[in-house]
Amino acid sequence: MSITNLLNNWSFYRQKRPYQGQYDLNRQYSEYKWAMALDLDICTGCNACTTACYAENNLPVVGKKRFNQGHVMHWIRIERYWDENMGEFPEQGASFLPMMCQQCEEAPCETVCPVGATSHTNDGLNSQNYHRCVGSRYCSVNCPYKVRYFNFWNYPSTAWPAPLPDQLNPDVTVRTKGIMEKCTFCVQRLNEAKSRARTEYRLVRDGEVVPACVQACPTSAITFGNIVDPKSKVAMMWKNQQVDLYKDMQEKDNSVRGYRILEDLRPFPSVMYLERVRDMEA
């Protein structure tokens, strides 16, 4: 790419995603593109998704001291936002926002990994390979959502005393010290469903496989599915909310609630949130 070429085609390269050629903007996922829709109006902030994630993905409980040091390892966390201008309706309380890896299409973390431990899969997931990771933590710095978690300690030696290792999920590696980790959309479930579907000469059906957080959600606030399939629930929600995966600025009317977090940074996240509806006149 020469300078003149760059200047002549400035708008093209300005719009270009880092993996052009391999993953271009007009790329069509042929089989799967996993995506999520999360309705904040239904979410009650009960933390069931977090608990389910701890159980499914062998996450260590780090304790109060390390939590305060910021060493906590929750792949999905419930963020609380307090309304400063409570005004005359103080009972409105906090807004909850479950935050997990957004599996960005143009993930900032992928471009900065010095060893290529994090990369994009053909299903549109942002993969993290624990065995290649050297723990530079560059990806965590570059992640706008701060959803990458670093093992500062050798948690397996302390987090699960004697009988507890028996409850670990054998499909997920127990991470050791010096490894970066993050939400995987429960890739072990996705892989199993995919191979089962391939054996039966079909694609994974909508609702056939869900991550642990979706499974545990008591109010069904999270919808998960394959956005390539236009009839899947999640694809219809994205369409109804007029959110397009490959647009950084959505052109939509004000009647819809769908939005993606930090969209203007152009990471093209795969998780759509639906704004909470508040009755301001009650």
Binding site: T121, N122, S127, N129, N191
Partner: protein, 202 residues
């Protein structure tokens, strides 16, 4: 056939084993070559019963998946339970007094499982799906079962106790995944195996 016979006789002469000896000699340390030409890449595994794979798979022509039933259904190929062995062997009177079969029935009478040891062992952070490989190459393309299993397990049908003869390393897996495999015998379209980290790494 003549070759095979000659080879067997040669081995018998060279290594002092009895004539008609078992076709696979487990061989020496890791990395050495077994007398019948395999690279002994895995350690010698001492099994509780020296299970003669060659007798079942080669001489009797039993499909590998008659005993390893999980291979076509899931991630692990499954080592059969003892009732699988007994199910046949209680009806085969001719070999009942052979030492290995006696040992088998000892376990059966004691109601104990046979403590088989793992031969082709992958690291814990790798998931290998038997189902996809068997479905693709055996059921879809109708390749012979000994060939399909042999891609990763070598010529087990000529072994007594199984020994790991393939590398089973990541580069070795990838070398096959990058090849263009025909989708079926009638279809010239090719495809290769998945190449993403998360397909195999947990």
């Amino acid at each position: 056939m003549i070759h095979r016979l000659l080879a067997t006789l040669c081995f018998a002469f060279l290594f002092g084993t009895a004539a008609g000896a078992e076709p696979f000699v487990q061989g020496g340390p890791i990395g050495s070559q077994t007398p019948d030409g395999y690279n002994a890449l895995g350690p010698v595994v001492k099994q509780p019963i020296e299970f003669p794979h060659y007798r079942h798979a080669r001489d009797m022509g039993i499909n590998c998946m008659y005993c390893h039933t999980g291979a076509r259904r899931g991630y692990v190929s499954v080592i059969p339970r003892i009732d699988k062995c007994i199910g046949c062997h209680q009806n085969i009177e001719s070999v009942r007094n052979k030492p290995r079969i006696k040992k088998l029935f000892e376990y059966w009478d004691k109601k104990q499982p046979i403590p088989w040891k793992k031969v082709n062992d992958l690291p814990d952070y790798v998931r290998f799906n038997h189902e996809r490989h068997i479905q693709r190459f055996y059921f879809r393309q109708n390749r012979p079962v000994r060939e399909v299993c042999g891609y990763c397990h070598g010529d087990v049908a000529n072994m007594t106790v199984d020994r790991r003869v393939k590398a089973l390393s990541m580069g070795w897996c990838i070398s096959c995944h990058q090849k263009d495999h025909k989708e079926s015998d009638t279809n010239m379209k090719t495809s290769h195996g998945p190449g993403e980290c998360w397909q195999c790494h947990k």
